[in-house]
């Protein structure tokens, strides 16, 4: 058993992927069972002329896939929030804008390729990889700059002060990006150029289910890139010396500095990594929704924060689980809410669902699903 768990291949690749698979399967199963039970319970209260259970089962696979896709995006953003919180005990409000900037940078790169005609000749996956890489670099740098400018001078101030500074920074970034876009392109929506085979479906006919399962290649790519990044992050935090330093600073900052760790450098590196993840998530999100504007970071950022809290803030695995659960919940809510309530409440309430989840988690289990109870500090 020991050689099984200490072999790096298993430890850093197989185990995390296995853990993710368990989370995905577990959450999907739990929610599916729940929704089917609810369908049976509410079967008789439907006024329209379809059977609730049948309709539920029909759209269930598609809902699950949507949920997992968006769940991975939320998980990637949530990791940025949770890493910064673990190290500084401070919520980086401007992380949603870092996510947005990453997305816009990636899309602009792809638009540039489109403009120069290189888009047809290059391999589509290479284009995506380049966009993600550029977004990661730019977002990481932006995050470190924000930290230096707006948070470092306030590190010893009472809690309210850096929080308000973060909110201000978030607002400033939204309009600054809008200003830059207006000045350079004349309008502030950026649209993903149409290329590659992303919109096509991989169709699997599974015996026993009426409609064949359709997996959009886009979703597969999203999940794939997210998984690669999460495995990479896990390796960084658990397998490298820098990761050990990050964990040390998160655990006890004065002792870490006594051990010879350069705390300021580690904090900057944390912001860099968190920002890079946010930027990559931005490009993935852009792939999914194909159209970005400077204000697109607000809601996903808020939901990702909810996901981080749901999983246990400060806990990386928790962020992953929280993101998946929240993504699934949102997908279920968007699809089933109008069916179950006869059209009274529709998909427009799915954003409020995240807030409802947040309030419930904070009332019932403030430490989150996987977190330990944090002692109340003054």
């Amino acid at each position: 058993m020991k050689q099984f768990t200490s072999n790096p291949f298993y430890k850093f690749i197989l185990f995390p992927i296995g853990q993710m698979a368990v989370f995905v399967l577990g959450a999907s199963l739990a929610l599916s069972v729940l929704i089917i039970l609810l369908a049976y319970i509410f079967r008789s209260s439907i006024t329209a002329n379809f059977d609730l259970v049948e309709r539920t089962l029909l759209i269930l696979p598609q809902v699950l896939i949507n949920g997992i896709t968006i769940g991975f995006v939320y998980a990637t953003i949530a990791l940025g929030y949770t890493m910064v919180y673990g190290v500084l005990e401070f919520i980086n409000f401007s992380h949603s804008e870092i996510f947005m900037v990453g997305g816009i940078v990636g899309v602009e790169l792809m638009a540039y390729f489109d403009h120069t005609g290189a888009l047809e000749t290059m391999n589509q996956y290479v284009v995506i990889a380049l966009a993600v890489l550029l977004a990661m670099i730019i977002s990481g740098t932006l995050a470190v700059t924000i930290e230096r400018v707006a948070y470092k001078p306030l590190r010893n101030a009472p809690r309210l002060v850096p929080l308000i500074s973060a909110i201000g920074m978030s607002f400033f970034l939204q309009d600054a990006v809008r200003l830059i876009l207006s000045l350079t392109t004349g309008e502030f929506n950026v649209i993903l150029p149409n290329f590659g085979t992303f919109d096509e479906f991989l169709v699997l006919a599974v015996p026993g289910i009426e409609a064949p399962l359709r997996f959009q290649i886009k979703s597969m790519l999203l999940i794939g890139v997210a998984v690669v990044m999460l495995v990479g992050l896990n390796f960084l935090v658990n397998g490298t010396k820098i990761g050990k330093a990050i964990r040390a600073v998160a655990q006890d900052r004065p002792s870490a500095s006594l051990m010879g760790i350069n705390v300021n450098l580690i904090i900057s590196i944390t912001f860099l990594v968190g920002g890079a993840l946010g930027g990559a998530a931005g490009v993935l999100f852009a792939l999914k929704v194909t159209r970005l504007d400077p204000f697109v970071g607000f809601f996903p950022g808020l939901k990702a924060f909810t996901a981080a809290v749901l999983g246990g803030i400060g806990n990386l695995t928790g962020a992953l689980l929280g993101g998946l659960v929240l993504g699934l919940l949102e997908s279920f809510g968007a699809s089933y809410l109008s069916i179950f309530t006869n059209g009274a409440f529709g998909a427009e309430y799915k954003d409020i669902l995240a807030f409802a989840v947040l309030i419930l988690v904070l009332i019932l289990r403030p430490s989150g699903l996987l977190g330990q109870t944090v002692a109340q500090k003054a």
Partner: protein, 445 residues
Amino acid sequence: MKTFFTELFKKANKGPWPLIITLSLLLVGTITVYQSPRSLTAFLTLMLCPLMLYFLKINSKVKLFIGLLLVIVIVPVLGIRNIFYLEVIFQMAVFAALALGLNIVIGMAGLLDLGYVAFYAVGAYTWAIFGSKQLSLLHSIPGAAPAGAAFALAPEWFWLFLFLGVGLAALAGILLGLPVLRLRGDYLAIVTLGFGEVIRVLALNLDKPINLTNGPQGITPIQRPPLPPDFILDPIRQLLAPVVGHAVTDAQLYNVFFYFLALIVILVAIMVARRLEDSKIGRAWTAIREDETAAIAMGIPLVRLKLAAFAAGASFAGCMGVVYAANRTFVSPETFSFLQSIGVLTMVILGGLGSIPGVIFGAAVVVLLNIQILQNFSLYLSELRQGDTVIPIINFAWKNLSNQLDPAKYQKLVFGIILVVMMIYRPSGLIPAERRQRELAEETE
């Protein structure tokens, strides 16, 4: 640099100088605004008067006289000549009341509330639903309302609804406060932000199954309270006509009416806030803000006081919401967005957390910034776009500047910069409350 200004201020504050400065500002301001109603500098000169009254050392009776002269005579007359100024002052009064309310929640009790605009929305929609035809349209689809629907209540009910708005908003405050009692600063901020968004989405979407808020189209028309009867108004009209230069219409009189109403509400709000600050409740809030654990050890009932803070803060917003709905005769969910919450937060931060004159000043500055300065900058840019001039160094023709670049819409940028800069350089605000200044300054040393 700092000592230069303090020396100058001390010199200006001695002897007959304060009175001379104030009176000359008053005179110059009045005359210039009367002559050129659209000039920004004239308006700012007139606005400097109340500021001088606050800071300079003048005999109290004289201060009171000048203040009353300004408020009751000068501004209404000037306002009838150009409605825009009454509008600006009305907005300043509305946001000052909101800022006072938020000041109670953040400044006095230390609870960071980012969804404050929700209470404003509650107050506004209360009068909107009951003071318009909405109650008789509860089952109609927005946009397909049948003609001939009746108003639910007579306009005189507005006065009752002023108090009802206060009560309902306080109730909403308590409902918000209940789940968030145990949360610390960061989580409290996000949950209150979420609450604000929930109220906005509800206002946007509650047009089915029953049409309560009429969705994104908003509710209109909303009734205004009736003006005082003619035997009071006629002599005023006759007095004002020659001064203003034209006959005074009902719409203009309504503007003056709402201006006075807003001022009265603000005065009541200031009195309430002052009384709260110096009372047992205010001191208990200060204790909670500075050290919650010690406050509990001192026997302070945390739950009751936190709920009281939320309720008190919310009630100011509710009252002003009712006034706002009656003035505008139209409410829509867009007015109650996160931007407005952050706007009120900016006013409180800019003016001074916990300081009553500070937040009023902050509200005035931010409203001026948004309405006057950004608009003027925007107009200036569009003038430049018409012409053929070129930006000097980079040789870029003004004409080619995108139409999207409209400074009046860049409020978020302004708010963001103000918040970050204030937090880094002067966290206790421009007109700080003494206690907070010591509290915030010694930590950032």
